[in-house]
Amino acid sequence: MRVAFGEAILRLGEEAEDMVVLTADVAKPTQVAAFGERYPHRFLNVGISEQDMVDIAAGLALSEKIPVAVAFAPFMMRAWEQVRSTISRCNLNVKLVGTHSGLSASDEGSSHQSLEDVALARVLPNMTVIVPGDREEVKEATEAAVKSPGPVYMRIGRDEDVKFLDEPFRIGRAVVLRDGSDVAVISNGAITAEALAAAEGARVDAMVIHVPTVKPLDAQAVVSAARKTGAVVCVEEHSTIGGLGSAVSELLSSEYPVRVRRMGVNDTFGESGTYRELLEKHGLSAPHIRRRMEEAAEKRDR
């Protein structure tokens, strides 16, 4: 994922002349080093100081630049208050990209895993929150973020390398990847690949909807999926509190109340392990998702 991001940033450098890339001593692992080499005058590595980086980005935006600030997702959270008080409060045109998000920093352990970042970003007014799913979508979402005005938080994983989307990314648009009538599985990020695998060969007819934009949420797509199936399962590489599952629950509780099952990391921290092991442990691999969707379909509200 991060490689695709690095390629997108490098390519955008050509056309978006006002774009400035900032990072906090993670140019290499976040893949923006190549941009820095090609455009040294539009690149700033501030060292290990995320708070400084985020407000420098705010200053650049106040001077009509388009800053893209890139750090590991867990440490971007360190600058949350700067994002709140300066960027989101004044609707500044700053793009924040958190890499190594979710469980993808796997072996590094819980300090390096970010299971709270979507919740923190989503609560902020003016903020657009994007969790792209595959290589192509990372590229398209990067471009869309840079080209649309206002603050954006985008989180991407480390090494997952999946490809499941044909439809081009548009901010605020969900994509139905598989139609079905018994249960709707709503997910984002690379974990959508697991949801798709779970739907194949399941005992129930599952709809799979990929929702790369958590905010603004594609309300129409979510409500119509709930209406059609009467049962919803949300899957994400995030805490079950505050992320996509919460956004879907908040919407459906008022617009079309059906039971929503939220799959994610259940109010706990991660630990070291391989990515696959962690998905397995937290019940986010295809077999787990399949079991939950079958359960949900059987106990659905109509």
Binding site: V20, G47, D52, A58, G59, S85
Partner: protein
């Protein structure tokens, strides 16, 4: 030759005299605002001369074109001194002076702490410790587009407790941002107590110098000195820090040098006493 120098001196003296008169007007506005609503009077008065000197004798800016790209920029990092900034902006013509009376009222463009809805405000603040980083971003943008634009950041001495200030100090020195000036309003107080009681700042100058900043220390109420040091800063190739020694509540004797005026609303009696004191003081002392 000598006559040209004399003429320049004369113009300078007239400018300074005019500025002092304007500052008296602005001080009156600030007192009036404080008689309507509780505000941070003490720290507004400690930095008034600094802000006024910047806007009236130093910065290139235009109230008619507040978003002019090549303007110099001012960031009030100690956002609680917003009344001083608002009063200066009104005096400069960014918005009508009558609007000052709406400060902190519902629907007003003059918020308790600065944000972008106020004409002339270049950056939001209120949460301490962020202004210098924002200033770095602006100074960098100016450098990237080859603009002469200069950036002035005013921070409080208590604010220097924030770690981000020192992250930014390192960054600005590393980038050799000669178009960036940090002024520290050294009034010696923060919310809870004297700055040195809450957390020791001294040697502040030594700290700034060791971070790679060209550092000056001046009387922050002395307009001539402020101008002199801002002039020198323009020749620097490195970021410049100015420690401006000030009195919290300057000009209001019952507040001066105390923390009583950190946040308060003046009673009718106090307001009249403060006004009387202001009128009694000769402008050219």
């Amino acid at each position: 030759m000598s006559s040209a120098v004399e003429l320049a001196d004369l113009r300078h003296a007239t400018d300074v005299q005019k500025l002092k008169e304007r500052i008296r007007e602005i001080r009156r506005s600030i007192l009036e605002m404080t008689s309507i609503r509780g505000l941070h009077l003490g720290s507004s008065l400690s930095c008034l001369e600094i802000i006024a000197t910047l806007y009236f004798l130093k910065m290139r800016h235009s109230p008619h074109r507040p978003r002019w790209k090549d303007r110099d920029r001012f960031i009030l990092s100690k956002g609680h001194a917003a009344p001083a900034l608002y009063a200066v902006l009104a005096e400069a013509g960014y918005f009508p002076k009558e609007e000052l009376r709406t400060l902190k009222s519902i629907g007003s463009r003059l918020q308790g702490h600065p944000d972008l809805r106020t004409p002339g405000v270049d950056a939001p603040s209120g949460s301490l410790g962020q202004g210098l980083s924002i200033g770095i971003g602006m100074a960098l943008a100016a450098r990237m587009r080859g603009s002469r634009s200069r950036v002035y950041v005013l921070a409080g001495d208590g604010e220097c407790d924030e770690g981000q200030v020192w992250e930014a100090m390192m960054t600005a020195a590393h980038l050799r941002l000669g178009n960036l000036v940090l002024i520290i309003d050294r009034n010696g107080w923060q919310l809870d107590d004297r700055t040195e009681e809450v957390k020791r700042k001294v040697p502040l100058r030594g700290k700034l110098e060791s971070f790679g900043w060209v550092t000056y220390s001046i009387n922050g109420h002395d307009i001539e000195k402020i101008i002199e040091v801002l002039d020198s800063a323009e020749k620097s190739e490195l970021p410049v820090a100015i420690i401006a020694h000030t009195k919290k509540g300057n000009g209001v004797s019952f507040l001066e040098g105390t923390n009583k005026g950190h946040k308060l609303k003046l009673s009718e009696e106090e307001y009249l006493a403060a006004l009387k004191e202001l009128e009694a003081k000769p402008v050219c002392e």
